[in-house]
């Protein structure tokens, strides 16, 4: 199932999301299911957080996971709703490998009247060897249902 064909409203978002911070980071859409999305963050020297090792900063990974989990909520809902991240926790399991694209998968596993619960993982080639794990919540000011 293509994200764009399954949710036409998201096409506009992705075009807008293809601007601003997401575009500056070079984020790309990879694939999706009914309640999950995978995005890609290509390696870029201007995202380095530790010049000694060439490892990218943790911030771009958090940004990608925020966007992937946000998109996963709209997929599970089957439509766009205006919402905001309430909180996001990221565990950095290991440094990203310099030179490798980081892939982030966001999943929405529960939606209540006003809160969506999300989780996700990031890896750089082998999903069995994740580099980050996230958990968070979103809130829809006008409700999800």
């Amino acid at each position: 199932m293509s994200l764009l064909s399954s949710l036409p409203e998201l096409e506009k978002y992705l075009r807008d999301g293809g601007s601003g911070h997401g575009r500056r980071l070079g984020l790309r859409y990879l694939e999706n299911g009914p309640d999950w999305v995978e995005l890609a963050l290509p390696y870029s020297p201007d995202q380095i957080g530790d010049p000694e090792s060439g490892v990218i900063a943790s911030g771009p990974i958090l940004s990608m996971m925020d966007m992937a989990t946000s998109l996963s909520v709209w997929l599970k809902l089957g439509g766009f709703r205006s919402h905001a991240t309430l909180d996001l926790r990221v565990d950095y399991l290991r440094p990203a490998t310099p030179g490798k694209t980081v892939i982030g998968r966001g999943e929405c596993y529960r939606i209540t009247r006003s809160i969506a619960f999300v989780r996700g993982q990031a890896h750089d080639g082998n999903p069995e060897d994740p580099l980050a794990h996230v958990a968070g919540t979103f809130m829809a000011l006008e409700g999800y249902q």
């Binding site: 911070h21 500056r24 957080g49 990218i56 900063a57 943790s58 958090l62 905001a84 996001l88």
Partner: protein, 126 residues
């Protein structure tokens, strides 16, 4: 203190009057939904501010390498079209682990737009 390339991507500058405070100008590179800062950019500002605070604290004790273990971010208000300030506070500097808090605000430090808590692993130079 030199900031990493990622700080430049966010447009961060050190406040000339407070070397522990960072300023992030509003602009396309940090934009989320139209008119508002991206939550990831606000988090990025706080993560860099936390590392700046930790590096200052570590420098007094001979320095060391810093590895992020985790971060928890609370988003409290939307970030508008104006400069955002970020500052970290080291709440505990242990031998191997540091606990750091950071916040981001625009008009009033008492009305943060976001706050974060981080744990860092430290490999001391000695």
């Amino acid at each position: 203190m030199r900031l990493p390339p990622y700080a430049e991507l966010l447009g961060l500058a050190v406040d000339p009057e407070d070397e522990a405070m960072l300023i992030m100008p509003f602009g396309d590179a940090v934009l989320g939904r139209p008119g508002f800062l991206h939550g990831g950019a606000i988090s990025g500002l706080m993560e860099v501010a936390a590392i700046v605070a930790l590096r200052h604290a570590l420098a007094d004790e001979g320095g060391g390498r810093i590895k992020p273990i985790n971060v928890t971010v609370d988003f409290m208000r939307g970030g508008r079209d104006k400069p955002t300030y970020g500052k970290g506070i080291v709440t505990r500097l242990g031998t191997r682990v540091a606990n750091v808090e950071a916040s981001a605000w625009q008009d009033d430090p008492a009305r943060p737009i976001a706050a974060a808590r981080m744990n860092y692993l430290i490999a001391r130079h000695d």
